[in-house]
């Protein structure tokens, strides 16, 4: 079982991203379940969503408390929310940011980091700071848990059409290509 927790703000597509990733994992023949967190979601408010994947059928329909990986699609969220709560030791952070690694908030559990200037790229592609598909590309690059091809295929099967589909396929591609991955050795050993 591999567990991912998405952090974002209402309107950035964190909930949609979990469902898109689940669809891509399904494409690859895996079992996947995604569950959004429940609240009075509104634009800008912190939101969370969850994804489990496995080679076997997944029975538990619960939230995720000890994720293997965090995908944070907003660069300012870590200042206001404890995104690292419960992250497994040796865990992964995929973070939207334009800052260098030294300036990114981390916790002792983080061993692998993927950084992508998702807001900057999103403003170029969509003229809006919608970062979810970009960060799925960044996740694929950082972890290898899902392939870029499967993500693209699941996007092509989704409700995206025409210009929207083209933009999001480009976002996946650029997220994948423009993510820097770092290993933090002392933490990987811990």
């Amino acid at each position: 079982m591999y567990e991912v927790r998405f952090h974002g703000r209402g309107g950035q597509g964190a909930v949609t991203a979990a469902a898109m990733l689940a669809a891509a994992l399904l494409e690859e023949g895996k079992y996947a379940v995604s569950i959004p967190s429940f609240g009075f979601e509104r634009r800008g408010a912190p939101v969370v969503s969850f994804l489990r994947c496995s080679d076997r059928e997944i029975r538990q329909l619960t939230n995720i408390y000890t994720p293997d990986c965090l995908i944070c699609v907003d660069p300012t969220l870590a200042k206001t929310v404890d995104i690292f709560g419960g992250l497994k030791p040796g865990g992964t952070l995929v973070q939207a940011t334009n800052k260098p690694l030294a300036e990114v908030a981390l916790s002792p559990s983080v061993a692998t980091v993927g950084l992508c200037d998702a807001i900057g790229i999103a403003l170029q592609i969509f003229s809006k700071p919608i970062t979810n598909t970009l960060m799925l590309g960044a996740f694929a690059r950082t972890t290898g848990v899902v392939s870029l091809d499967a993500l693209k295929r699941s996007l092509e099967d989704s409700d995206f059409r025409d210009a929207g589909l083209k933009q999001n396929l480009l976002a996946l591609e650029r997220g994948y290509n423009e993510t820097a991955v770092y290993q933090i050795p002392q933490r990987a050993a811990a």
Binding site: L26, I35, R59
Partner: protein
């Protein structure tokens, strides 16, 4: 419209089923479309909203040939469907929580009139205090109103059961409204892999569509609908008793029909769901925990871990809650020495969960005393995790050596 025809020959293999990734609410909508209702009436309410939005979209996209009535409130929704059912239509709606409360007057009338209306309850906890999240309080509150009520565990079971519900409701020996209960939040918005049955296979399962003359009004076959009965003189009291006894008989008949229809489903589509009560690793167990709805997946994972650790524990899950599956439960209870029952709602009168309260009646019929206790968790959107179920298992195991009655355990009290 038709009543169930179990004599329909079953083809050896269903057509290849499309694999999709959908949330529970969309699965329910897809199931509704496959069952080909003539009429739906809707009013959105959290966490049911995306279900009726999916239904409306299927109709707007021409993928579902049904009339849709966008009523001004839930009382009207069900009243409109009563008219549709009395015109011979196959009818559907969905609601929850405050919407179900607003619907209560026609809700009671529906079972009395023996109208085979199908309605999903995307279960939501009761207010007040204010909350918009899942819990079984709404469905539990109306468990004594004469509707058949089944609870689903997985997204696939939501899809399949939604189709089966129409056939159960319309069966000649049942003729009762059916609620498919799916847990608000965890099941309604939980997205997972489902196999979508082929329309032709579902058509073969449902049988030829015809007007249901047990319900439909026709000037050539006049019948009284909802006549004035009761009182203490003339034909009033006996007529009223006849209605109520008929409803009780339909409920009891539904136990058999639900089993038959689940068996036919398994043969046609290759997916087998326990129709009334599911036993999981109960053989060789000294004690068991009992669950309802989507919490069961985490409970099964906890049971596997507990078994690996040497604990002799099994699981009993109820699917059909109304009518209460007394005989099926007695068979399961015969295997165990202690029982812990986990409810996702509150029984205010007995200071325990409502399912536990009902279970105590069955335990009385068992003819021997087995200690039991009530757990209440997952209220108003709270989670019931594998960890919570380990606490349930440990506390239930203690009943074997110390069977003294104790207070209910509130699982999320310190979360």
């Amino acid at each position: 419209m038709t009543t169930a025809t179990l004599e329909t020959p079953i083809q050896a293999k269903p057509a290849k089923q499309k694999v999709m990734l959908v949330e529970g609410n969309e699965a329910a909508a897809l199931g509704v479309a496959l069952a080909r209702p003539d009429m739906v009436a809707v009013y959105p309410i959290t966490p049911q909203s995306s279900l009726v939005e999916h239904v409306a979209k299927l109709i707007a996209d021409g993928k579902m040939d049904a009339d849709i009535v966008d009523a001004e409130g839930e009382h009207s929704v069900l009243s409109v469907l009563q008219g549709g059912a009395l015109a011979g239509a196959r009818t559907y709606t969905a609601t929850c929580g405050p919407g179900l409360a607003f619907m209560f007057e026609p809700y009671f009338r529906t079972s009395g009139m023996r109208l085979p209306i199908v309605m999903s309850i995307v279960t939501r906890d009761g207010i007040t205090p204010q909350s918009v999240w899942g819990g079984h309080q709404d469905a539990m509150t109306v468990r004594e109103v004469g509707w058949v009520q089944v609870y689903c565990e997985t997204v696939q079971e939501v899809l399949d059961t939604t189709i089966m519900a129409f056939k159960i409701a319309e069966h000649h020996d049942v003729m009762l409204p059916v609620n498919i209960c799916l847990d608000g939040n965890y099941l309604s918005y939980g997205t997972s892999r489902v196999e979508l049955p082929n329309q032709e296979d579902v058509d073969a399962f449902m049988g030829a569509k015809d007007v249901n003359w047990h319900v439909a009004l026709d000037p050539l076959r006049p019948m009284a609908v909802d006549p004035l009965t009761g009182g203490s003189g003339g034909k009033g009291p006996s007529t009223f008793v006849r209605y109520r006894k008929g409803q009780c008989k339909g409920m009891q008949n539904s136990l058999r029909v639900i089993e038959e229809i689940h068996e036919e489903w398994a043969q046609r589509f290759g997916r087998r769901f326990a129709p009334l009560v599911e036993e999981y690793r109960l053989d060789g167990a000294d004690y068991a925990i009992m669950t309802l709805g989507s919490m069961t997946g985490a409970a099964k994972d906890a049971i596997d871990e507990a078994r690996d650790a040497g604990r002799k524990v099994g699981l009993i899950k109820i699917k059909t809650f109304s009518p209460f599956p007394i005989d099926a439960l007695l068979k399961s209870f015969a295997k165990i020495q202690a029982l812990g029952v986990v409810d996702r709602s509150v029984g205010f009168r007995w200071n325990c969960g409502p399912m536990y309260q009902e279970t105590m009646g069955v335990l009385y019929r068992l003819g021997r005393h087995i200690p039991s206790m009530s757990f209440i968790g997952g209220l108003a959107g709270a989670d019931i995790t594998v960890g919570h179920f380990h606490r349930v298992i440990e506390a239930t195991e203690k009943l074997l050596s110390n069977p003294a009655p104790i207070e209910p355990v509130w699982l999320n009290e310190k979360d």
